[in-house]
């Protein structure tokens, strides 16, 4: 039987890797490595990684609310220092299972047959999963970067759906779910470079307390105002929280 054995959240901001001001980012790299260690410790076999398209993967002719890739993964296609574009070991059986369960439970997931992912999924895939390919990935994109945005509650429900899909699997599968995204940050707007520590603290406190309602109660306008368009990615955290509703973070 399948089981969700853990959930993790991590940033993917390109400036971490480009590091234009040559700041010491060792603590960030250590955090990715620490997540990787814990995923190995949990004996995970697969990781469902939730990211956002930054309007480079999907075109104005077809913008998905939620998309799952059923086949091969490679990336990131937007190359960044330390993140070469290369194949990412993937788990088509788990992806198919989640898709089928989604259909049965009223989710309309768009699918990719194969996908060159961007840094949102490429960064955690390269930095949080062991290099030997022993933990295979399933890529999920939520509409967090391009309007119309996925509703917060739907992201949370998606997490719960993944949990029930995994638990209904008839083969042993130890799955971690990774929410890849930032808290407050502004991308491409006049505020770019700014962060809002008050907003960030509120979000982190909610996550640590396992208090999904504190996040679900936010309006998009509040998030955009206090956390910027980048903070719309808290949807991915809600996707993680939805699969461990009683969970508190360490």
């Amino acid at each position: 039987m399948g089981a969700i054995v853990g959930g993790f959240m991590m940033p993917h901001d390109p400036t971490v890797f480009i590091n234009p001001r040559k700041l010491d980012n060792g603590h960030l790299m250590d955090a990715y490595a620490e997540i990787c260690r814990r995923i190995v410790e949990l004996d995970a076999t697969s990781a469902v990684i939730i990211g956002a398209d930054h309007y480079i993967l999907f075109t104005p002719k077809c913008l998905p609310q939620i998309l799952i890739c059923l086949g091969e993964l490679n990336g990131p296609v937007d190359q960044l220092p330390g993140l070469p574009n290369r194949p990412i070991p993937h788990n088509p059986v788990l992806a198919e299972r989640i898709f089928a369960h989604a259909q049965e439970t009223g989710f309309d997931l768009a699918v990719a047959r194969s996908l060159g992912v961007d840094h949102a999924i490429g960064a955690p895939a390269h930095l949080c999963l062991p290099e030997d390919g022993s933990v295979t990935a399933v890529a999920v994109y939520m509409a967090s970067g391009v309007a119309p945005y996925l509703r917060l509650r739907r992201a949370y429900e998606f997490g719960a759906m993944v949990k029930s899909a995994v638990e209904a699997m008839d083969r042993d599968e130890r799955v971690v779910i990774l929410g890849s995204g930032g808290i407050s940050h502004w991308v491409g707007t006049g505020e770019m470079g700014r962060t809002n520590p008050v907003f960030d603290r509120m979000v982190l406190d909610a996550i640590v307390a396992g208090d999904a309602d504190a996040l679900l109660g936010l309006t998009d306008e509040e998030i955009l105002r206090e956390g910027g368009n980048g903070a719309m990615e808290i949807r991915h955290f809600l996707g993680v929280m939805g699969q461990c509703p009683e969970g508190r973070a360490k």
Binding site: Y55, G188, L224
Partner: protein, 93 residues
């Protein structure tokens, strides 16, 4: 104004090197591929990212469009032009 033709155009220019080449070589011929009205065409031609943002285009798209044409070193110049997100909130329904 729906802006959707502009959105497709800016998306293409931000994401395709081939499209960018075609645009730089013959801007008018390239823009004729899209159903733009005169005002929209002018906004693209003068790269008025601020006004395009105010009218609702995605700032990630606009950033990609600008960086695509002028390279990553033009980020400062781009940001100087751009209004804040906060200034646009509540101005659209």
């Amino acid at each position: 104004m729906s802006l959707s033709a502009v959105e497709q155009c800016i998306f293409d220019l931000g994401n395709s090197g081939n499209m960018r080449k075609a645009y730089v070589a013959e801007p008018d011929a390239f823009l004729a591929r899209y159903a733009l009205d005169d005002e929209e065409r002018a906004l693209v031609r003068r790269e008025d990212v601020a006004e395009l943002f105010r009218r609702g285009l995605n700032p990630m798209l606009l950033m990609g469009f600008h960086m695509g044409l002028h390279g990553p070193a033009s980020m400062g110049e781009y940001l100087k032009k751009m209004p804040t997100l906060a200034s646009t909130l509540g101005t659209r329904e």
